[in-house]
Symmetry: C2
Subunit: 348 residues, 2 copies
DNA sequence: AGTTCTGCTGCAAACGTTTGTAGTCGCATG
DNA sequence: CATGCGACTACAAACGTTTGCAGCAGAACT
């Protein structure tokens, strides 16, 4: 029913190959002929069938984007940035949601494999070996985890966690809890590593709670555990959990930051909306989305590339963190490294 | 490079057509042969090329889902429900975001047209005539707007607005502001119509402010206007705007609900997170996502169908609405119609 | 005048599938 | 022994494109 290239050829009295070239290689066809063809196409409402084109060129001009949870406010800015960046390069982005399930994750990559030119795998919960296997099916760029042998873009969340810990210690906190994230998450491991180290060098004690689902509910659910641990400050895996925790503490009549300080990670839109406003580590999500698209488009088919882009993070001090029980000559109110959202690039 | 059906045929010593049938019509091929074929396919890592299949069957087994703004918390539940529902029917959902821009909206439908079996168009900002034109390119199901001649699923937001107004009037409010939504929105027109009617029948005054972008910022920006209007209650186009407004009022030292009552619409996750918790109209977004998928899959190619599914809404009373200046024997605390998330179906 | 070049267009194969039709085989039936 | 049938499998055309190659005219060289 829809018009094909053959209909256009017939209508304009030329061969199909000429019609094809009129669209995809204008310089190879006489300007006058081309005008004829385009006019005929217009009246027929012809639109090239991308599937057929993909079949022969091997390029679909589509990018897959897989995220753990589209409802997590961390992802939308990344998605939007990737979409508009890709659109500017004549690519379309197909978003899919895995519900934090590694099985669905794998299934989706496989399903997308043949209909996109590459997949952006964000915050994967699979194992590295699984990811490497999948990378044989379709070009992959991993976001929020460095996978040896694959292009990846990560955020320097270790640095962010360190800054957050130093901030808390500087405020006089000596017993701090880490509200851990989900099991498969590289980011979670990084945070834990950096926080542990920072606590040790500062002579503070770190209580690790987790792993937990990275949700608001799970943040709330850990409130009891936090209180039992007897800490004066908490660093959470992400803003969502921090918000959930603050909420549950509030319900119990525990004042933030007067009795307990809470610091989040991600600086989502949420963090400016809570009472008190959330001290958090800002991660450059939009920049990550753009960088991932660039890497995918740039590397094209040579899948075994090893570029790693690392984006800087910064500490954003708001109102959910305050003085701890151990008075100290604290640091100044602001403690932010220069930040332009762009990357240090390295190779491994 | 990736294994094709021909490789599998060669490896298992049968014709390609047999391989094809081994996958898509198992009962037509000898069980033993089939086992051979599947084994060969397995070792070669063969996966059928969906683009090639689509070329001949005309079915891609993909669904496009277009939303105005993926960062608006109204959409993720709808998206997730549509995705998992579709996955259960062996379909994949491709999500795209228009940034509230009608131009991008049209472009995306056209781009998706040839690579999906149909498109779910959520909360369109285009005109009805534009939508009808596009429906000739690809089967369309419209969500949040009834378009004559096209299948659509809408929420009975007029009923929700009426309930909200009655709630406010019952609390003693006589001067109420309506914080309007975006220009192209059918939902916005419905709310306005219903609220106006409800105000008139109750003898209350309604001040309409807008149109506005459906964002938190724009809710905050209207705080001045709300105060100038001298109203004691506000009904907002959505939760996002309600939250933004409450925030801005709070900054000005205006107490909610003591001085001004605020009611939202959508019952997003946000509404339970604000202080005070938001009174709002719950819209069954997940059910809408599922219903839309069903309609698309069911109607298949006969595009000119006229089914309309209407989903009920309910009023959820929380803490952001309180007594107004005019004491009345108010209604009970709860005022909710029976609600099971399912639809009344009708035809027009 | 012959040759080469340039600019354009047509031809036909190819991409990886599906599917209608025809063929083969063994076996039971008449 | 011919016939028919059932179960299976091979053949080949088709889907809507792209693209290397060849062809052809005319212009520009030698």
């Amino acid at each position: 029913m829809p018009a094909t290239i053959r209909d256009v050829a017939k209508a304009s009295g030329v061969h199909v190959s000429t019609v094809s070239r009129a669209f995809s290689a204008p310089q190879l066809v006489n300007a006058e002929t081309r005008a004829h063809v385009l006019a005929a196409a217009e009246v027929l409402g012809y639109r090239p069938n991308r599937a057929a084109r993909a079949l022969i060129t091997g390029r679909t001009h589509n990018i897959g984007l897989i995220v753990a949870d589209i409802a997590n406010p961390f992802f939308p800015p990344l998605i939007k940035a990737a979409e508009s960046h890709a659109r500017g390069r004549d690519y379309h982005v197909f978003v899919a949601d895995t519900n934090e399930d590694p099985g669905v994750e794998e299934e989706l990559v496989l399903a997308l494999a043949k209909q996109v030119d590459g997949v952006l795998l964000c915050s994967p919960r699979m194992s590295n070996t699984q990811i490497e296997q999948l990378s044989r099916e379709v070009p992959l760029v991993v976001v929020n985890r460095p996978v040896p042998g694959l292009p990846a873009v990560v955020m320097d969340v270790a640095q962010g966690a360190r800054l957050a810990m130093e901030h808390l210690v500087g405020l006089g906190h000596r017993e701090i809890a880490l509200l851990g994230g989900p099991r498969g998450s590289w980011t979670n491991r990084e945070i834990r590593r950096a926080a542990t180290l920072a606590a040790r060098t500062a002579g503070a004690e770190l209580v690790v709670l987790g792993p937990n689902a990275p949700t608001e509910e799970s943040g709330s659910a850990q409130a009891e555990a936090v209180l039992r641990a007897g800490v004066s400050a908490v660093l959470a895996y992400n803003d969502l959990m921090a918000v959930g925790l603050i909420d549950a503490l509030d319900h119990r009549g525990v004042k933030v930051p007067d009795q307990i300080s809470v610091v989040g990670i991600d600086d989502t839109a949420l963090s400016r909306r809570t009472r008190p406003m959330l001290t958090t580590v800002a991660t450059p999500t939009a920049a990550a989305g753009r960088a991932a698209v660039d890497m995918l488009l740039q590397h094209g088919d040579d899948r075994r590339t090893t570029a790693l882009v690392t984006l800087q993070t910064e500490l954003v001090i708001r109102d959910s963190s305050g003085p701890g029980p151990h008075r100290t000559a604290g640091p100044g109110r602001r403690q932010q490294p220069p930040f332009d959202g762009v990357a240090s690039e390295s190779r491994e």
